[in-house]
Subunit: 462 residues, 2 copies
């Protein structure tokens, strides 16, 4: 019976001194005259296992010629290892070659640059670094689902193709089935969108929030977790055209309640990843971000700080720090300000609340001062902004008033506005960019390295 | 402390004869001269709870004027109910109106047609029917993640924007940031795709399988679960332009191993939904598909049948059934044939294997007969095809040969082909349309009713 490496590592007493078969790939191969060692991994566990063979085997010659990268079925006995770097190894009785691998195989047992590995993105999960990153991506995804499902939230798959432009925030990708060489036009030369697939102009969504709010008004607590898009032409380490977002929305919940949920959720996810990706985190702590595990443990054990935007500017202004951008009331907070607040002043995650209305979205609840809105950003040490949320404006007239100020097309949002007429209530929600979270969890600083196949300006490979 | 209805239903002994507060919406309101009853639901539990109030309350008049659909905070004591249709109810001491609802609110406590409810899709999860459907959608999503994560599969979020056309199967949506009124062209009038956002022609993916295979060759067992698109202009009950798919891919797994996984997974999901959506299924069994729960239990307890495509045609030909389409070797199996096989002949789910190569995709493993491929479709009673999978062609030369026969552009698939050179191995995978599964689980027959905001030809609302 074939076993996964994971089963062997997790219950090795069961298999010790027994015949087993494992199927996977050769990560490294060191041969000597009379014996040889194969680093074997089947991808189900972060650590490899050592296969030991010697020249008493009939197939010694053919085994010793096996190439790195090859797929094999290995048969042998699991034994205690004499080597103190490992607990056990497999004494081989037979190896069957399942699929060969040429000598010019790009993934060799040495350090490759991340830039090179991006070019062979389809092979990079076979390296320790990317194996760890994408395993953590999977584990963190599950932690998010588990957190919300265990607490009675309903998962809503909001649409990706949309005729709204969401927050009016991001540049959108257009979607069409028109032949671009032959777009139908009316007598005046105007494009006949009524002849396109959906009969109107549509694009890829920048947020599922508005649809999420509609479901929150039925289930009280919902979350989305799906892809989101920005056609923003920025080639930075933190921007991708396609990324995943989590957008919970909760009825009968104000800004304070929202912050409690954000803090509780983040601590849960981090704890879950620490518990379920121990080997992966140790590797990343060693080779990517020294102190990563300490950073994560500190987060779990801290009580997040809370300041208003005004208080945050006060702190920044009264600091002796030399900033490139002068902190200003009424303005956004720069990356360097975030770093100062989280890493020097508070030394822990910080909620910044009550932002100037002019730099925030139309749907955020106006505070009594008529100048600020009940918005909250969560900043964390080393990664900056991780979540952005707000209490939503539930007052129909105030919401319409704000949309008119911003020259929005009210008629496109009648259903959204109706939520305020048909049993509306205090409600709040936030968005967390999943890749932002992964950058925080893995210590890797480039968004291209936490997405299986990243999409960025001028790049859409594989 | 505010409680969710779910907590009260699940632990009602804890709250019996205690003061509680709940926040949610009025589903129905029956008033008499001296007392009144409110059907209350907060969306966290399928069943509503009855709020009872009488004219001893100071606010009796204002409470008795509360409208259906309004959001309220209700305070009172949880008491045993004298009514034998319910176990308990809340004797109200105070109700605070959180958000009013007008008398012309579209969702009234009566039967609405599904067609009407599609027009107010943002309100339909407030009805029993859609509340049940979208709750099951959430629960089934989680069951899928739980099944694979518990078994060590890695969740891979494959890209949605792609330059490949996948199986070459479906019509694709184009994505662009060009101003359609002003598309850049070179001197010969050719569109300069190098000036588009990604510098090339791109579209919305029809499958994540090819990228999934690359990750399976690193982690052995992976699954995808995400949105997929078809720009197919078919207005039927089973087609949507945007839908979700699950695509597991497993290395060192042949067609028989794949069928075992499909059967095991489906039984797990169905069991999980039966256990976690009991009230919802009972409602659907009563009002949508009589016998639904029996159907699901039968599936769990049956051993799925297995026949080859040829054997299936033999069975169909030798039946006395009058088919509209004559069953033919080498041809696809029609809906009526599927019905006969699953509902009359086998009376349970059936795997059909070894399909004629010409009606299946290029990547499927050629059988020794050179006529059929190692493909498998799973048919289930009442819903027909639920999953389609295959062993993949892992032989580099055979795969290239087949692609050449089909005039495919080999150079676009070099990375996919390389999987066969760099430690390739026997591997298999399948795809399950998530909405197909939901149609099976809920008994609802129109795909528009199992997607929160369906996208179909000429329809992209909300």
């Amino acid at each position: 019976m074939v076993k996964d490496l994971r089963e062997i590592y997790e219950n090795y007493e069961l298999y010790l001194n027994k015949e087993i078969c494992i199927q996977g790939w050769i990560r490294n191969h060191r041969k000597q005259k009379e014996f040889g060692f194969i680093d074997f991994n089947d991808g189900t566990y972060f650590k490899s296992i050592q296969l030991f063979y010697d020249n008493k085997l009939e197939d010694f010659d053919s085994i010793s010629k096996l190439h790195i990268g090859s797929a094999i079925s290995a048969y042998g006995v699991l034994v205690q290892s004499p080597n103190k770097n490992q607990d056990f190894e497999i004494k081989i009785s037979k190896i069957k070659l399942e699929g060969d691998c040429p000598l010019d195989y790009p993934i060799q047992p040495k350090r490759h640059t991340r830039e090179f590995l991006r070019e062979v993105a389809y092979l990079r999960p076979r390296t320790n670094l990317f194996n760890a990153i994408f395993k953590i991506r999977s584990i963190a995804s599950y932690a998010i689902h588990k957190y919300f499902q265990d607490r009675g939230y309903v998962y809503v798959q909001t649409p990706l193709i949309t005729a709204n432009d969401g927050e009016g925030a991001g540049e959108m990708f257009k979607i069409t089935t028109f032949d671009l060489d032959n777009i139908p036009r009316d007598e005046d030369g105007k494009i006949e969108y009524n002849k396109d697939f959906f009969g109107r102009k549509v694009g890829l969504t920048v947020t599922g929030q508005l649809e999420g709010e509609t479901f929150a008004h039925a289930y009280k607590k919902i979350y989305t977790f799906g892809p989101t898009f920005r056609a923003e032409n920025s080639n930075t380490k933190t921007h991708a055209a396609e990324f995943w977002m989590i957008e919970p929305e909760i009825c009968f919940c104000d800004l304070n309640g929202l912050m409690d949920i954000e803090e509780d959720m983040l601590k849960y996810i981090v704890s879950y990843v620490i518990e379920n990706a121990r080997c992966e985190l140790e590797f990343l702590d060693n080779f990517v971000e020294k102190g990563l595990i300490d950073k994560l443990n500190t987060l779990i054990n801290s009580k997040f700080a809370k300041v208003t935007h005004k208080e945050a500017i006060d702190i920044l202004k009264s600091s002796n720090e030399k900033f490139e951008f002068t902190p200003e009331y009424g303005c956004d907070i720069a990356r360097e300000h975030e770093k100062y607040l989280t890493e020097k002043h508070f030394k822990k995650p910080v909620f910044i609340t009550d932002w100037p209305k002019d730099i925030k979205a139309f749907y955020m609840k106006m505070n009594d001062d008529n100048e600020t809105v009940a918005a909250v950003d969560l900043l964390v040490p080393s990664s900056g902004e991780l979540m952005g949320g707000s209490q939503r404006e539930e007052n129909y007239e105030k919401l319409i008033g704000r949309m008119n100020e911003l020259n929005m097309k009210i008629e496109d949002f009648d259903w959204y506005l109706n939520l305020r007429k048909f049993g509306g209530c205090t409600h709040s929600g936030f968005g967390m960019g999943f890749e932002r979270l992964l950058i925080y969890l893995t210590g890797v600083d480039n968004i291209r390295d936490v997405i299986p196949y990243p999409r960025t300006p001028k790049s859409c490979e594989f």
